[in-house]
Subunit: 224 residues, 2 copies
């Protein structure tokens, strides 16, 4: 296999991120490409969730993955080895988030004419990524059980901007003080429209529901 | 009990954070006050660890706690209810870290003449807080087992700036693919001098070692 492509992302020089994001979304719409921005805290299981999901959808849509990290290319390598899906690594040079222009720098390295769906795995961080519209069609985030059910109270913006909240590591629920109903309540206080899907990426439980959500969103974007 | 004091922290207008941090450290030295900057990802167990530790040291040193959060005062309330230790809440107004000037705004609300030790619980984030010297005498961070042993590879600066890495939630080690020796190796690749203390804040296992480290550091700062 070729070496993983590593893109060194430069800080955006444009000031109007919201406008850049809108322009990027329009461009993606014209090209029939759906962009998912996947966010979470460090270690919540984004990469494992992606691997499980990609293996369920890769025969139905053409997918590419962009893995953002401050350093290392372990995630991009993992994704490609476990799924065969085309994956590039974005290095953010110490920066804690991606904005629309930085996302575009990544997309410039993806053959957009060959794909229906690009998944952007954002930097592991519940604060800064929520503040910057990347130009994605949908935002999703993963909250893992060990992090606690009170996170929507502490990181309100993240839960406000996400269309979907995936609750991962449900297999360890018995070992943690995590109340799924209380967590859903906190999420809906922040964002009444947010969908919530509990999964266990390790065993694959619940991942079908996420895969179905994603395929439906991609189809709606391409066909409406 | 009185209501928890909530301080709305304003963004720093000073540009030279390193100089501000040095000045703050000197001032704390003159006053005989030790400041610990405690960092981690969301949900790693900072507050539970603090509660266990405060209950072990509060009869030996005079302590105050500053809880930084984007929103809510749940942590400050928890700390005070569980330990009786004086605790204030710092609201960062959406910001993802504290710098030295913001830390000073918090310290202005602590009776420094009555305390030996102030613990600053920084915003839950492995990226931005590592970039800003708060003026603390020591930096410590908590990595919890469910986050994975590869975090020193992905968040290098955090592990480089910390004098102590606490590895929390060791009780769930059997349920996660976490290799303590591999993790220590990754930490020491980033920072050969970092001390590593494994604990389980829920059961209290290992917390004595952290409490002893902290007391020794406070005494060294006050007496040298």
């Amino acid at each position: 296999m070729d070496a993983i492509k590593v893109i060194e992302i430069k800080k955006s020089v444009f000031e109007d991120n919201d406008k850049d994001a809108e322009n990027l979304r329009k461009e993606l719409k014209d090209k029939g490409v759906f962009l998912l921005n996947l966010m979470s805290a460090p270690g919540s299981g984004k990469t494992t969730t992606l691997i499980q999901t990609l293996n369920r959808i890769k025969d139905k849509v053409h997918v590419a993955v962009m893995e953002a990290d401050i350093d290392s290319d372990v995630d991009a390598v993992k994704i490609r080895e476990a799924t065969g899906v085309s994956s590039i690594q974005l290095h953010t040079g110490g920066m804690c988030h991606l904005d629309a222009e930085m996302t575009r720098q990544g997309l410039d390295n993806v053959e957009l004419k060959d794909v229906d769906l690009v998944v952007l795995e954002n930097v592991g961080n519940l604060v800064c990524p929520a503040e910057f519209d990347t130009g994605a069609v949908r935002n999703a985030m993963i909250l893992s059980v060990p992090e606690g059910d009170d996170k929507p109270l502490k990181y309100p913006l993240m839960f406000t901007v996400c269309d979907l909240v995936i609750i991962n590591k449900t297999d360890v629920m018995p070992y943690f003080d995590f109340d799924l109903n209380r967590c859903k309540e906190y999420i809906h206080q922040r964002n009444p429209k947010a969908q919530v899907i509990p999964i266990c990426a390790k065993t694959g439980e619940g991942v079908d529901a996420f895969a179905q959500w994603l395929l439906a969103e991609v189809n709606a974007w391409k066909n409406n």
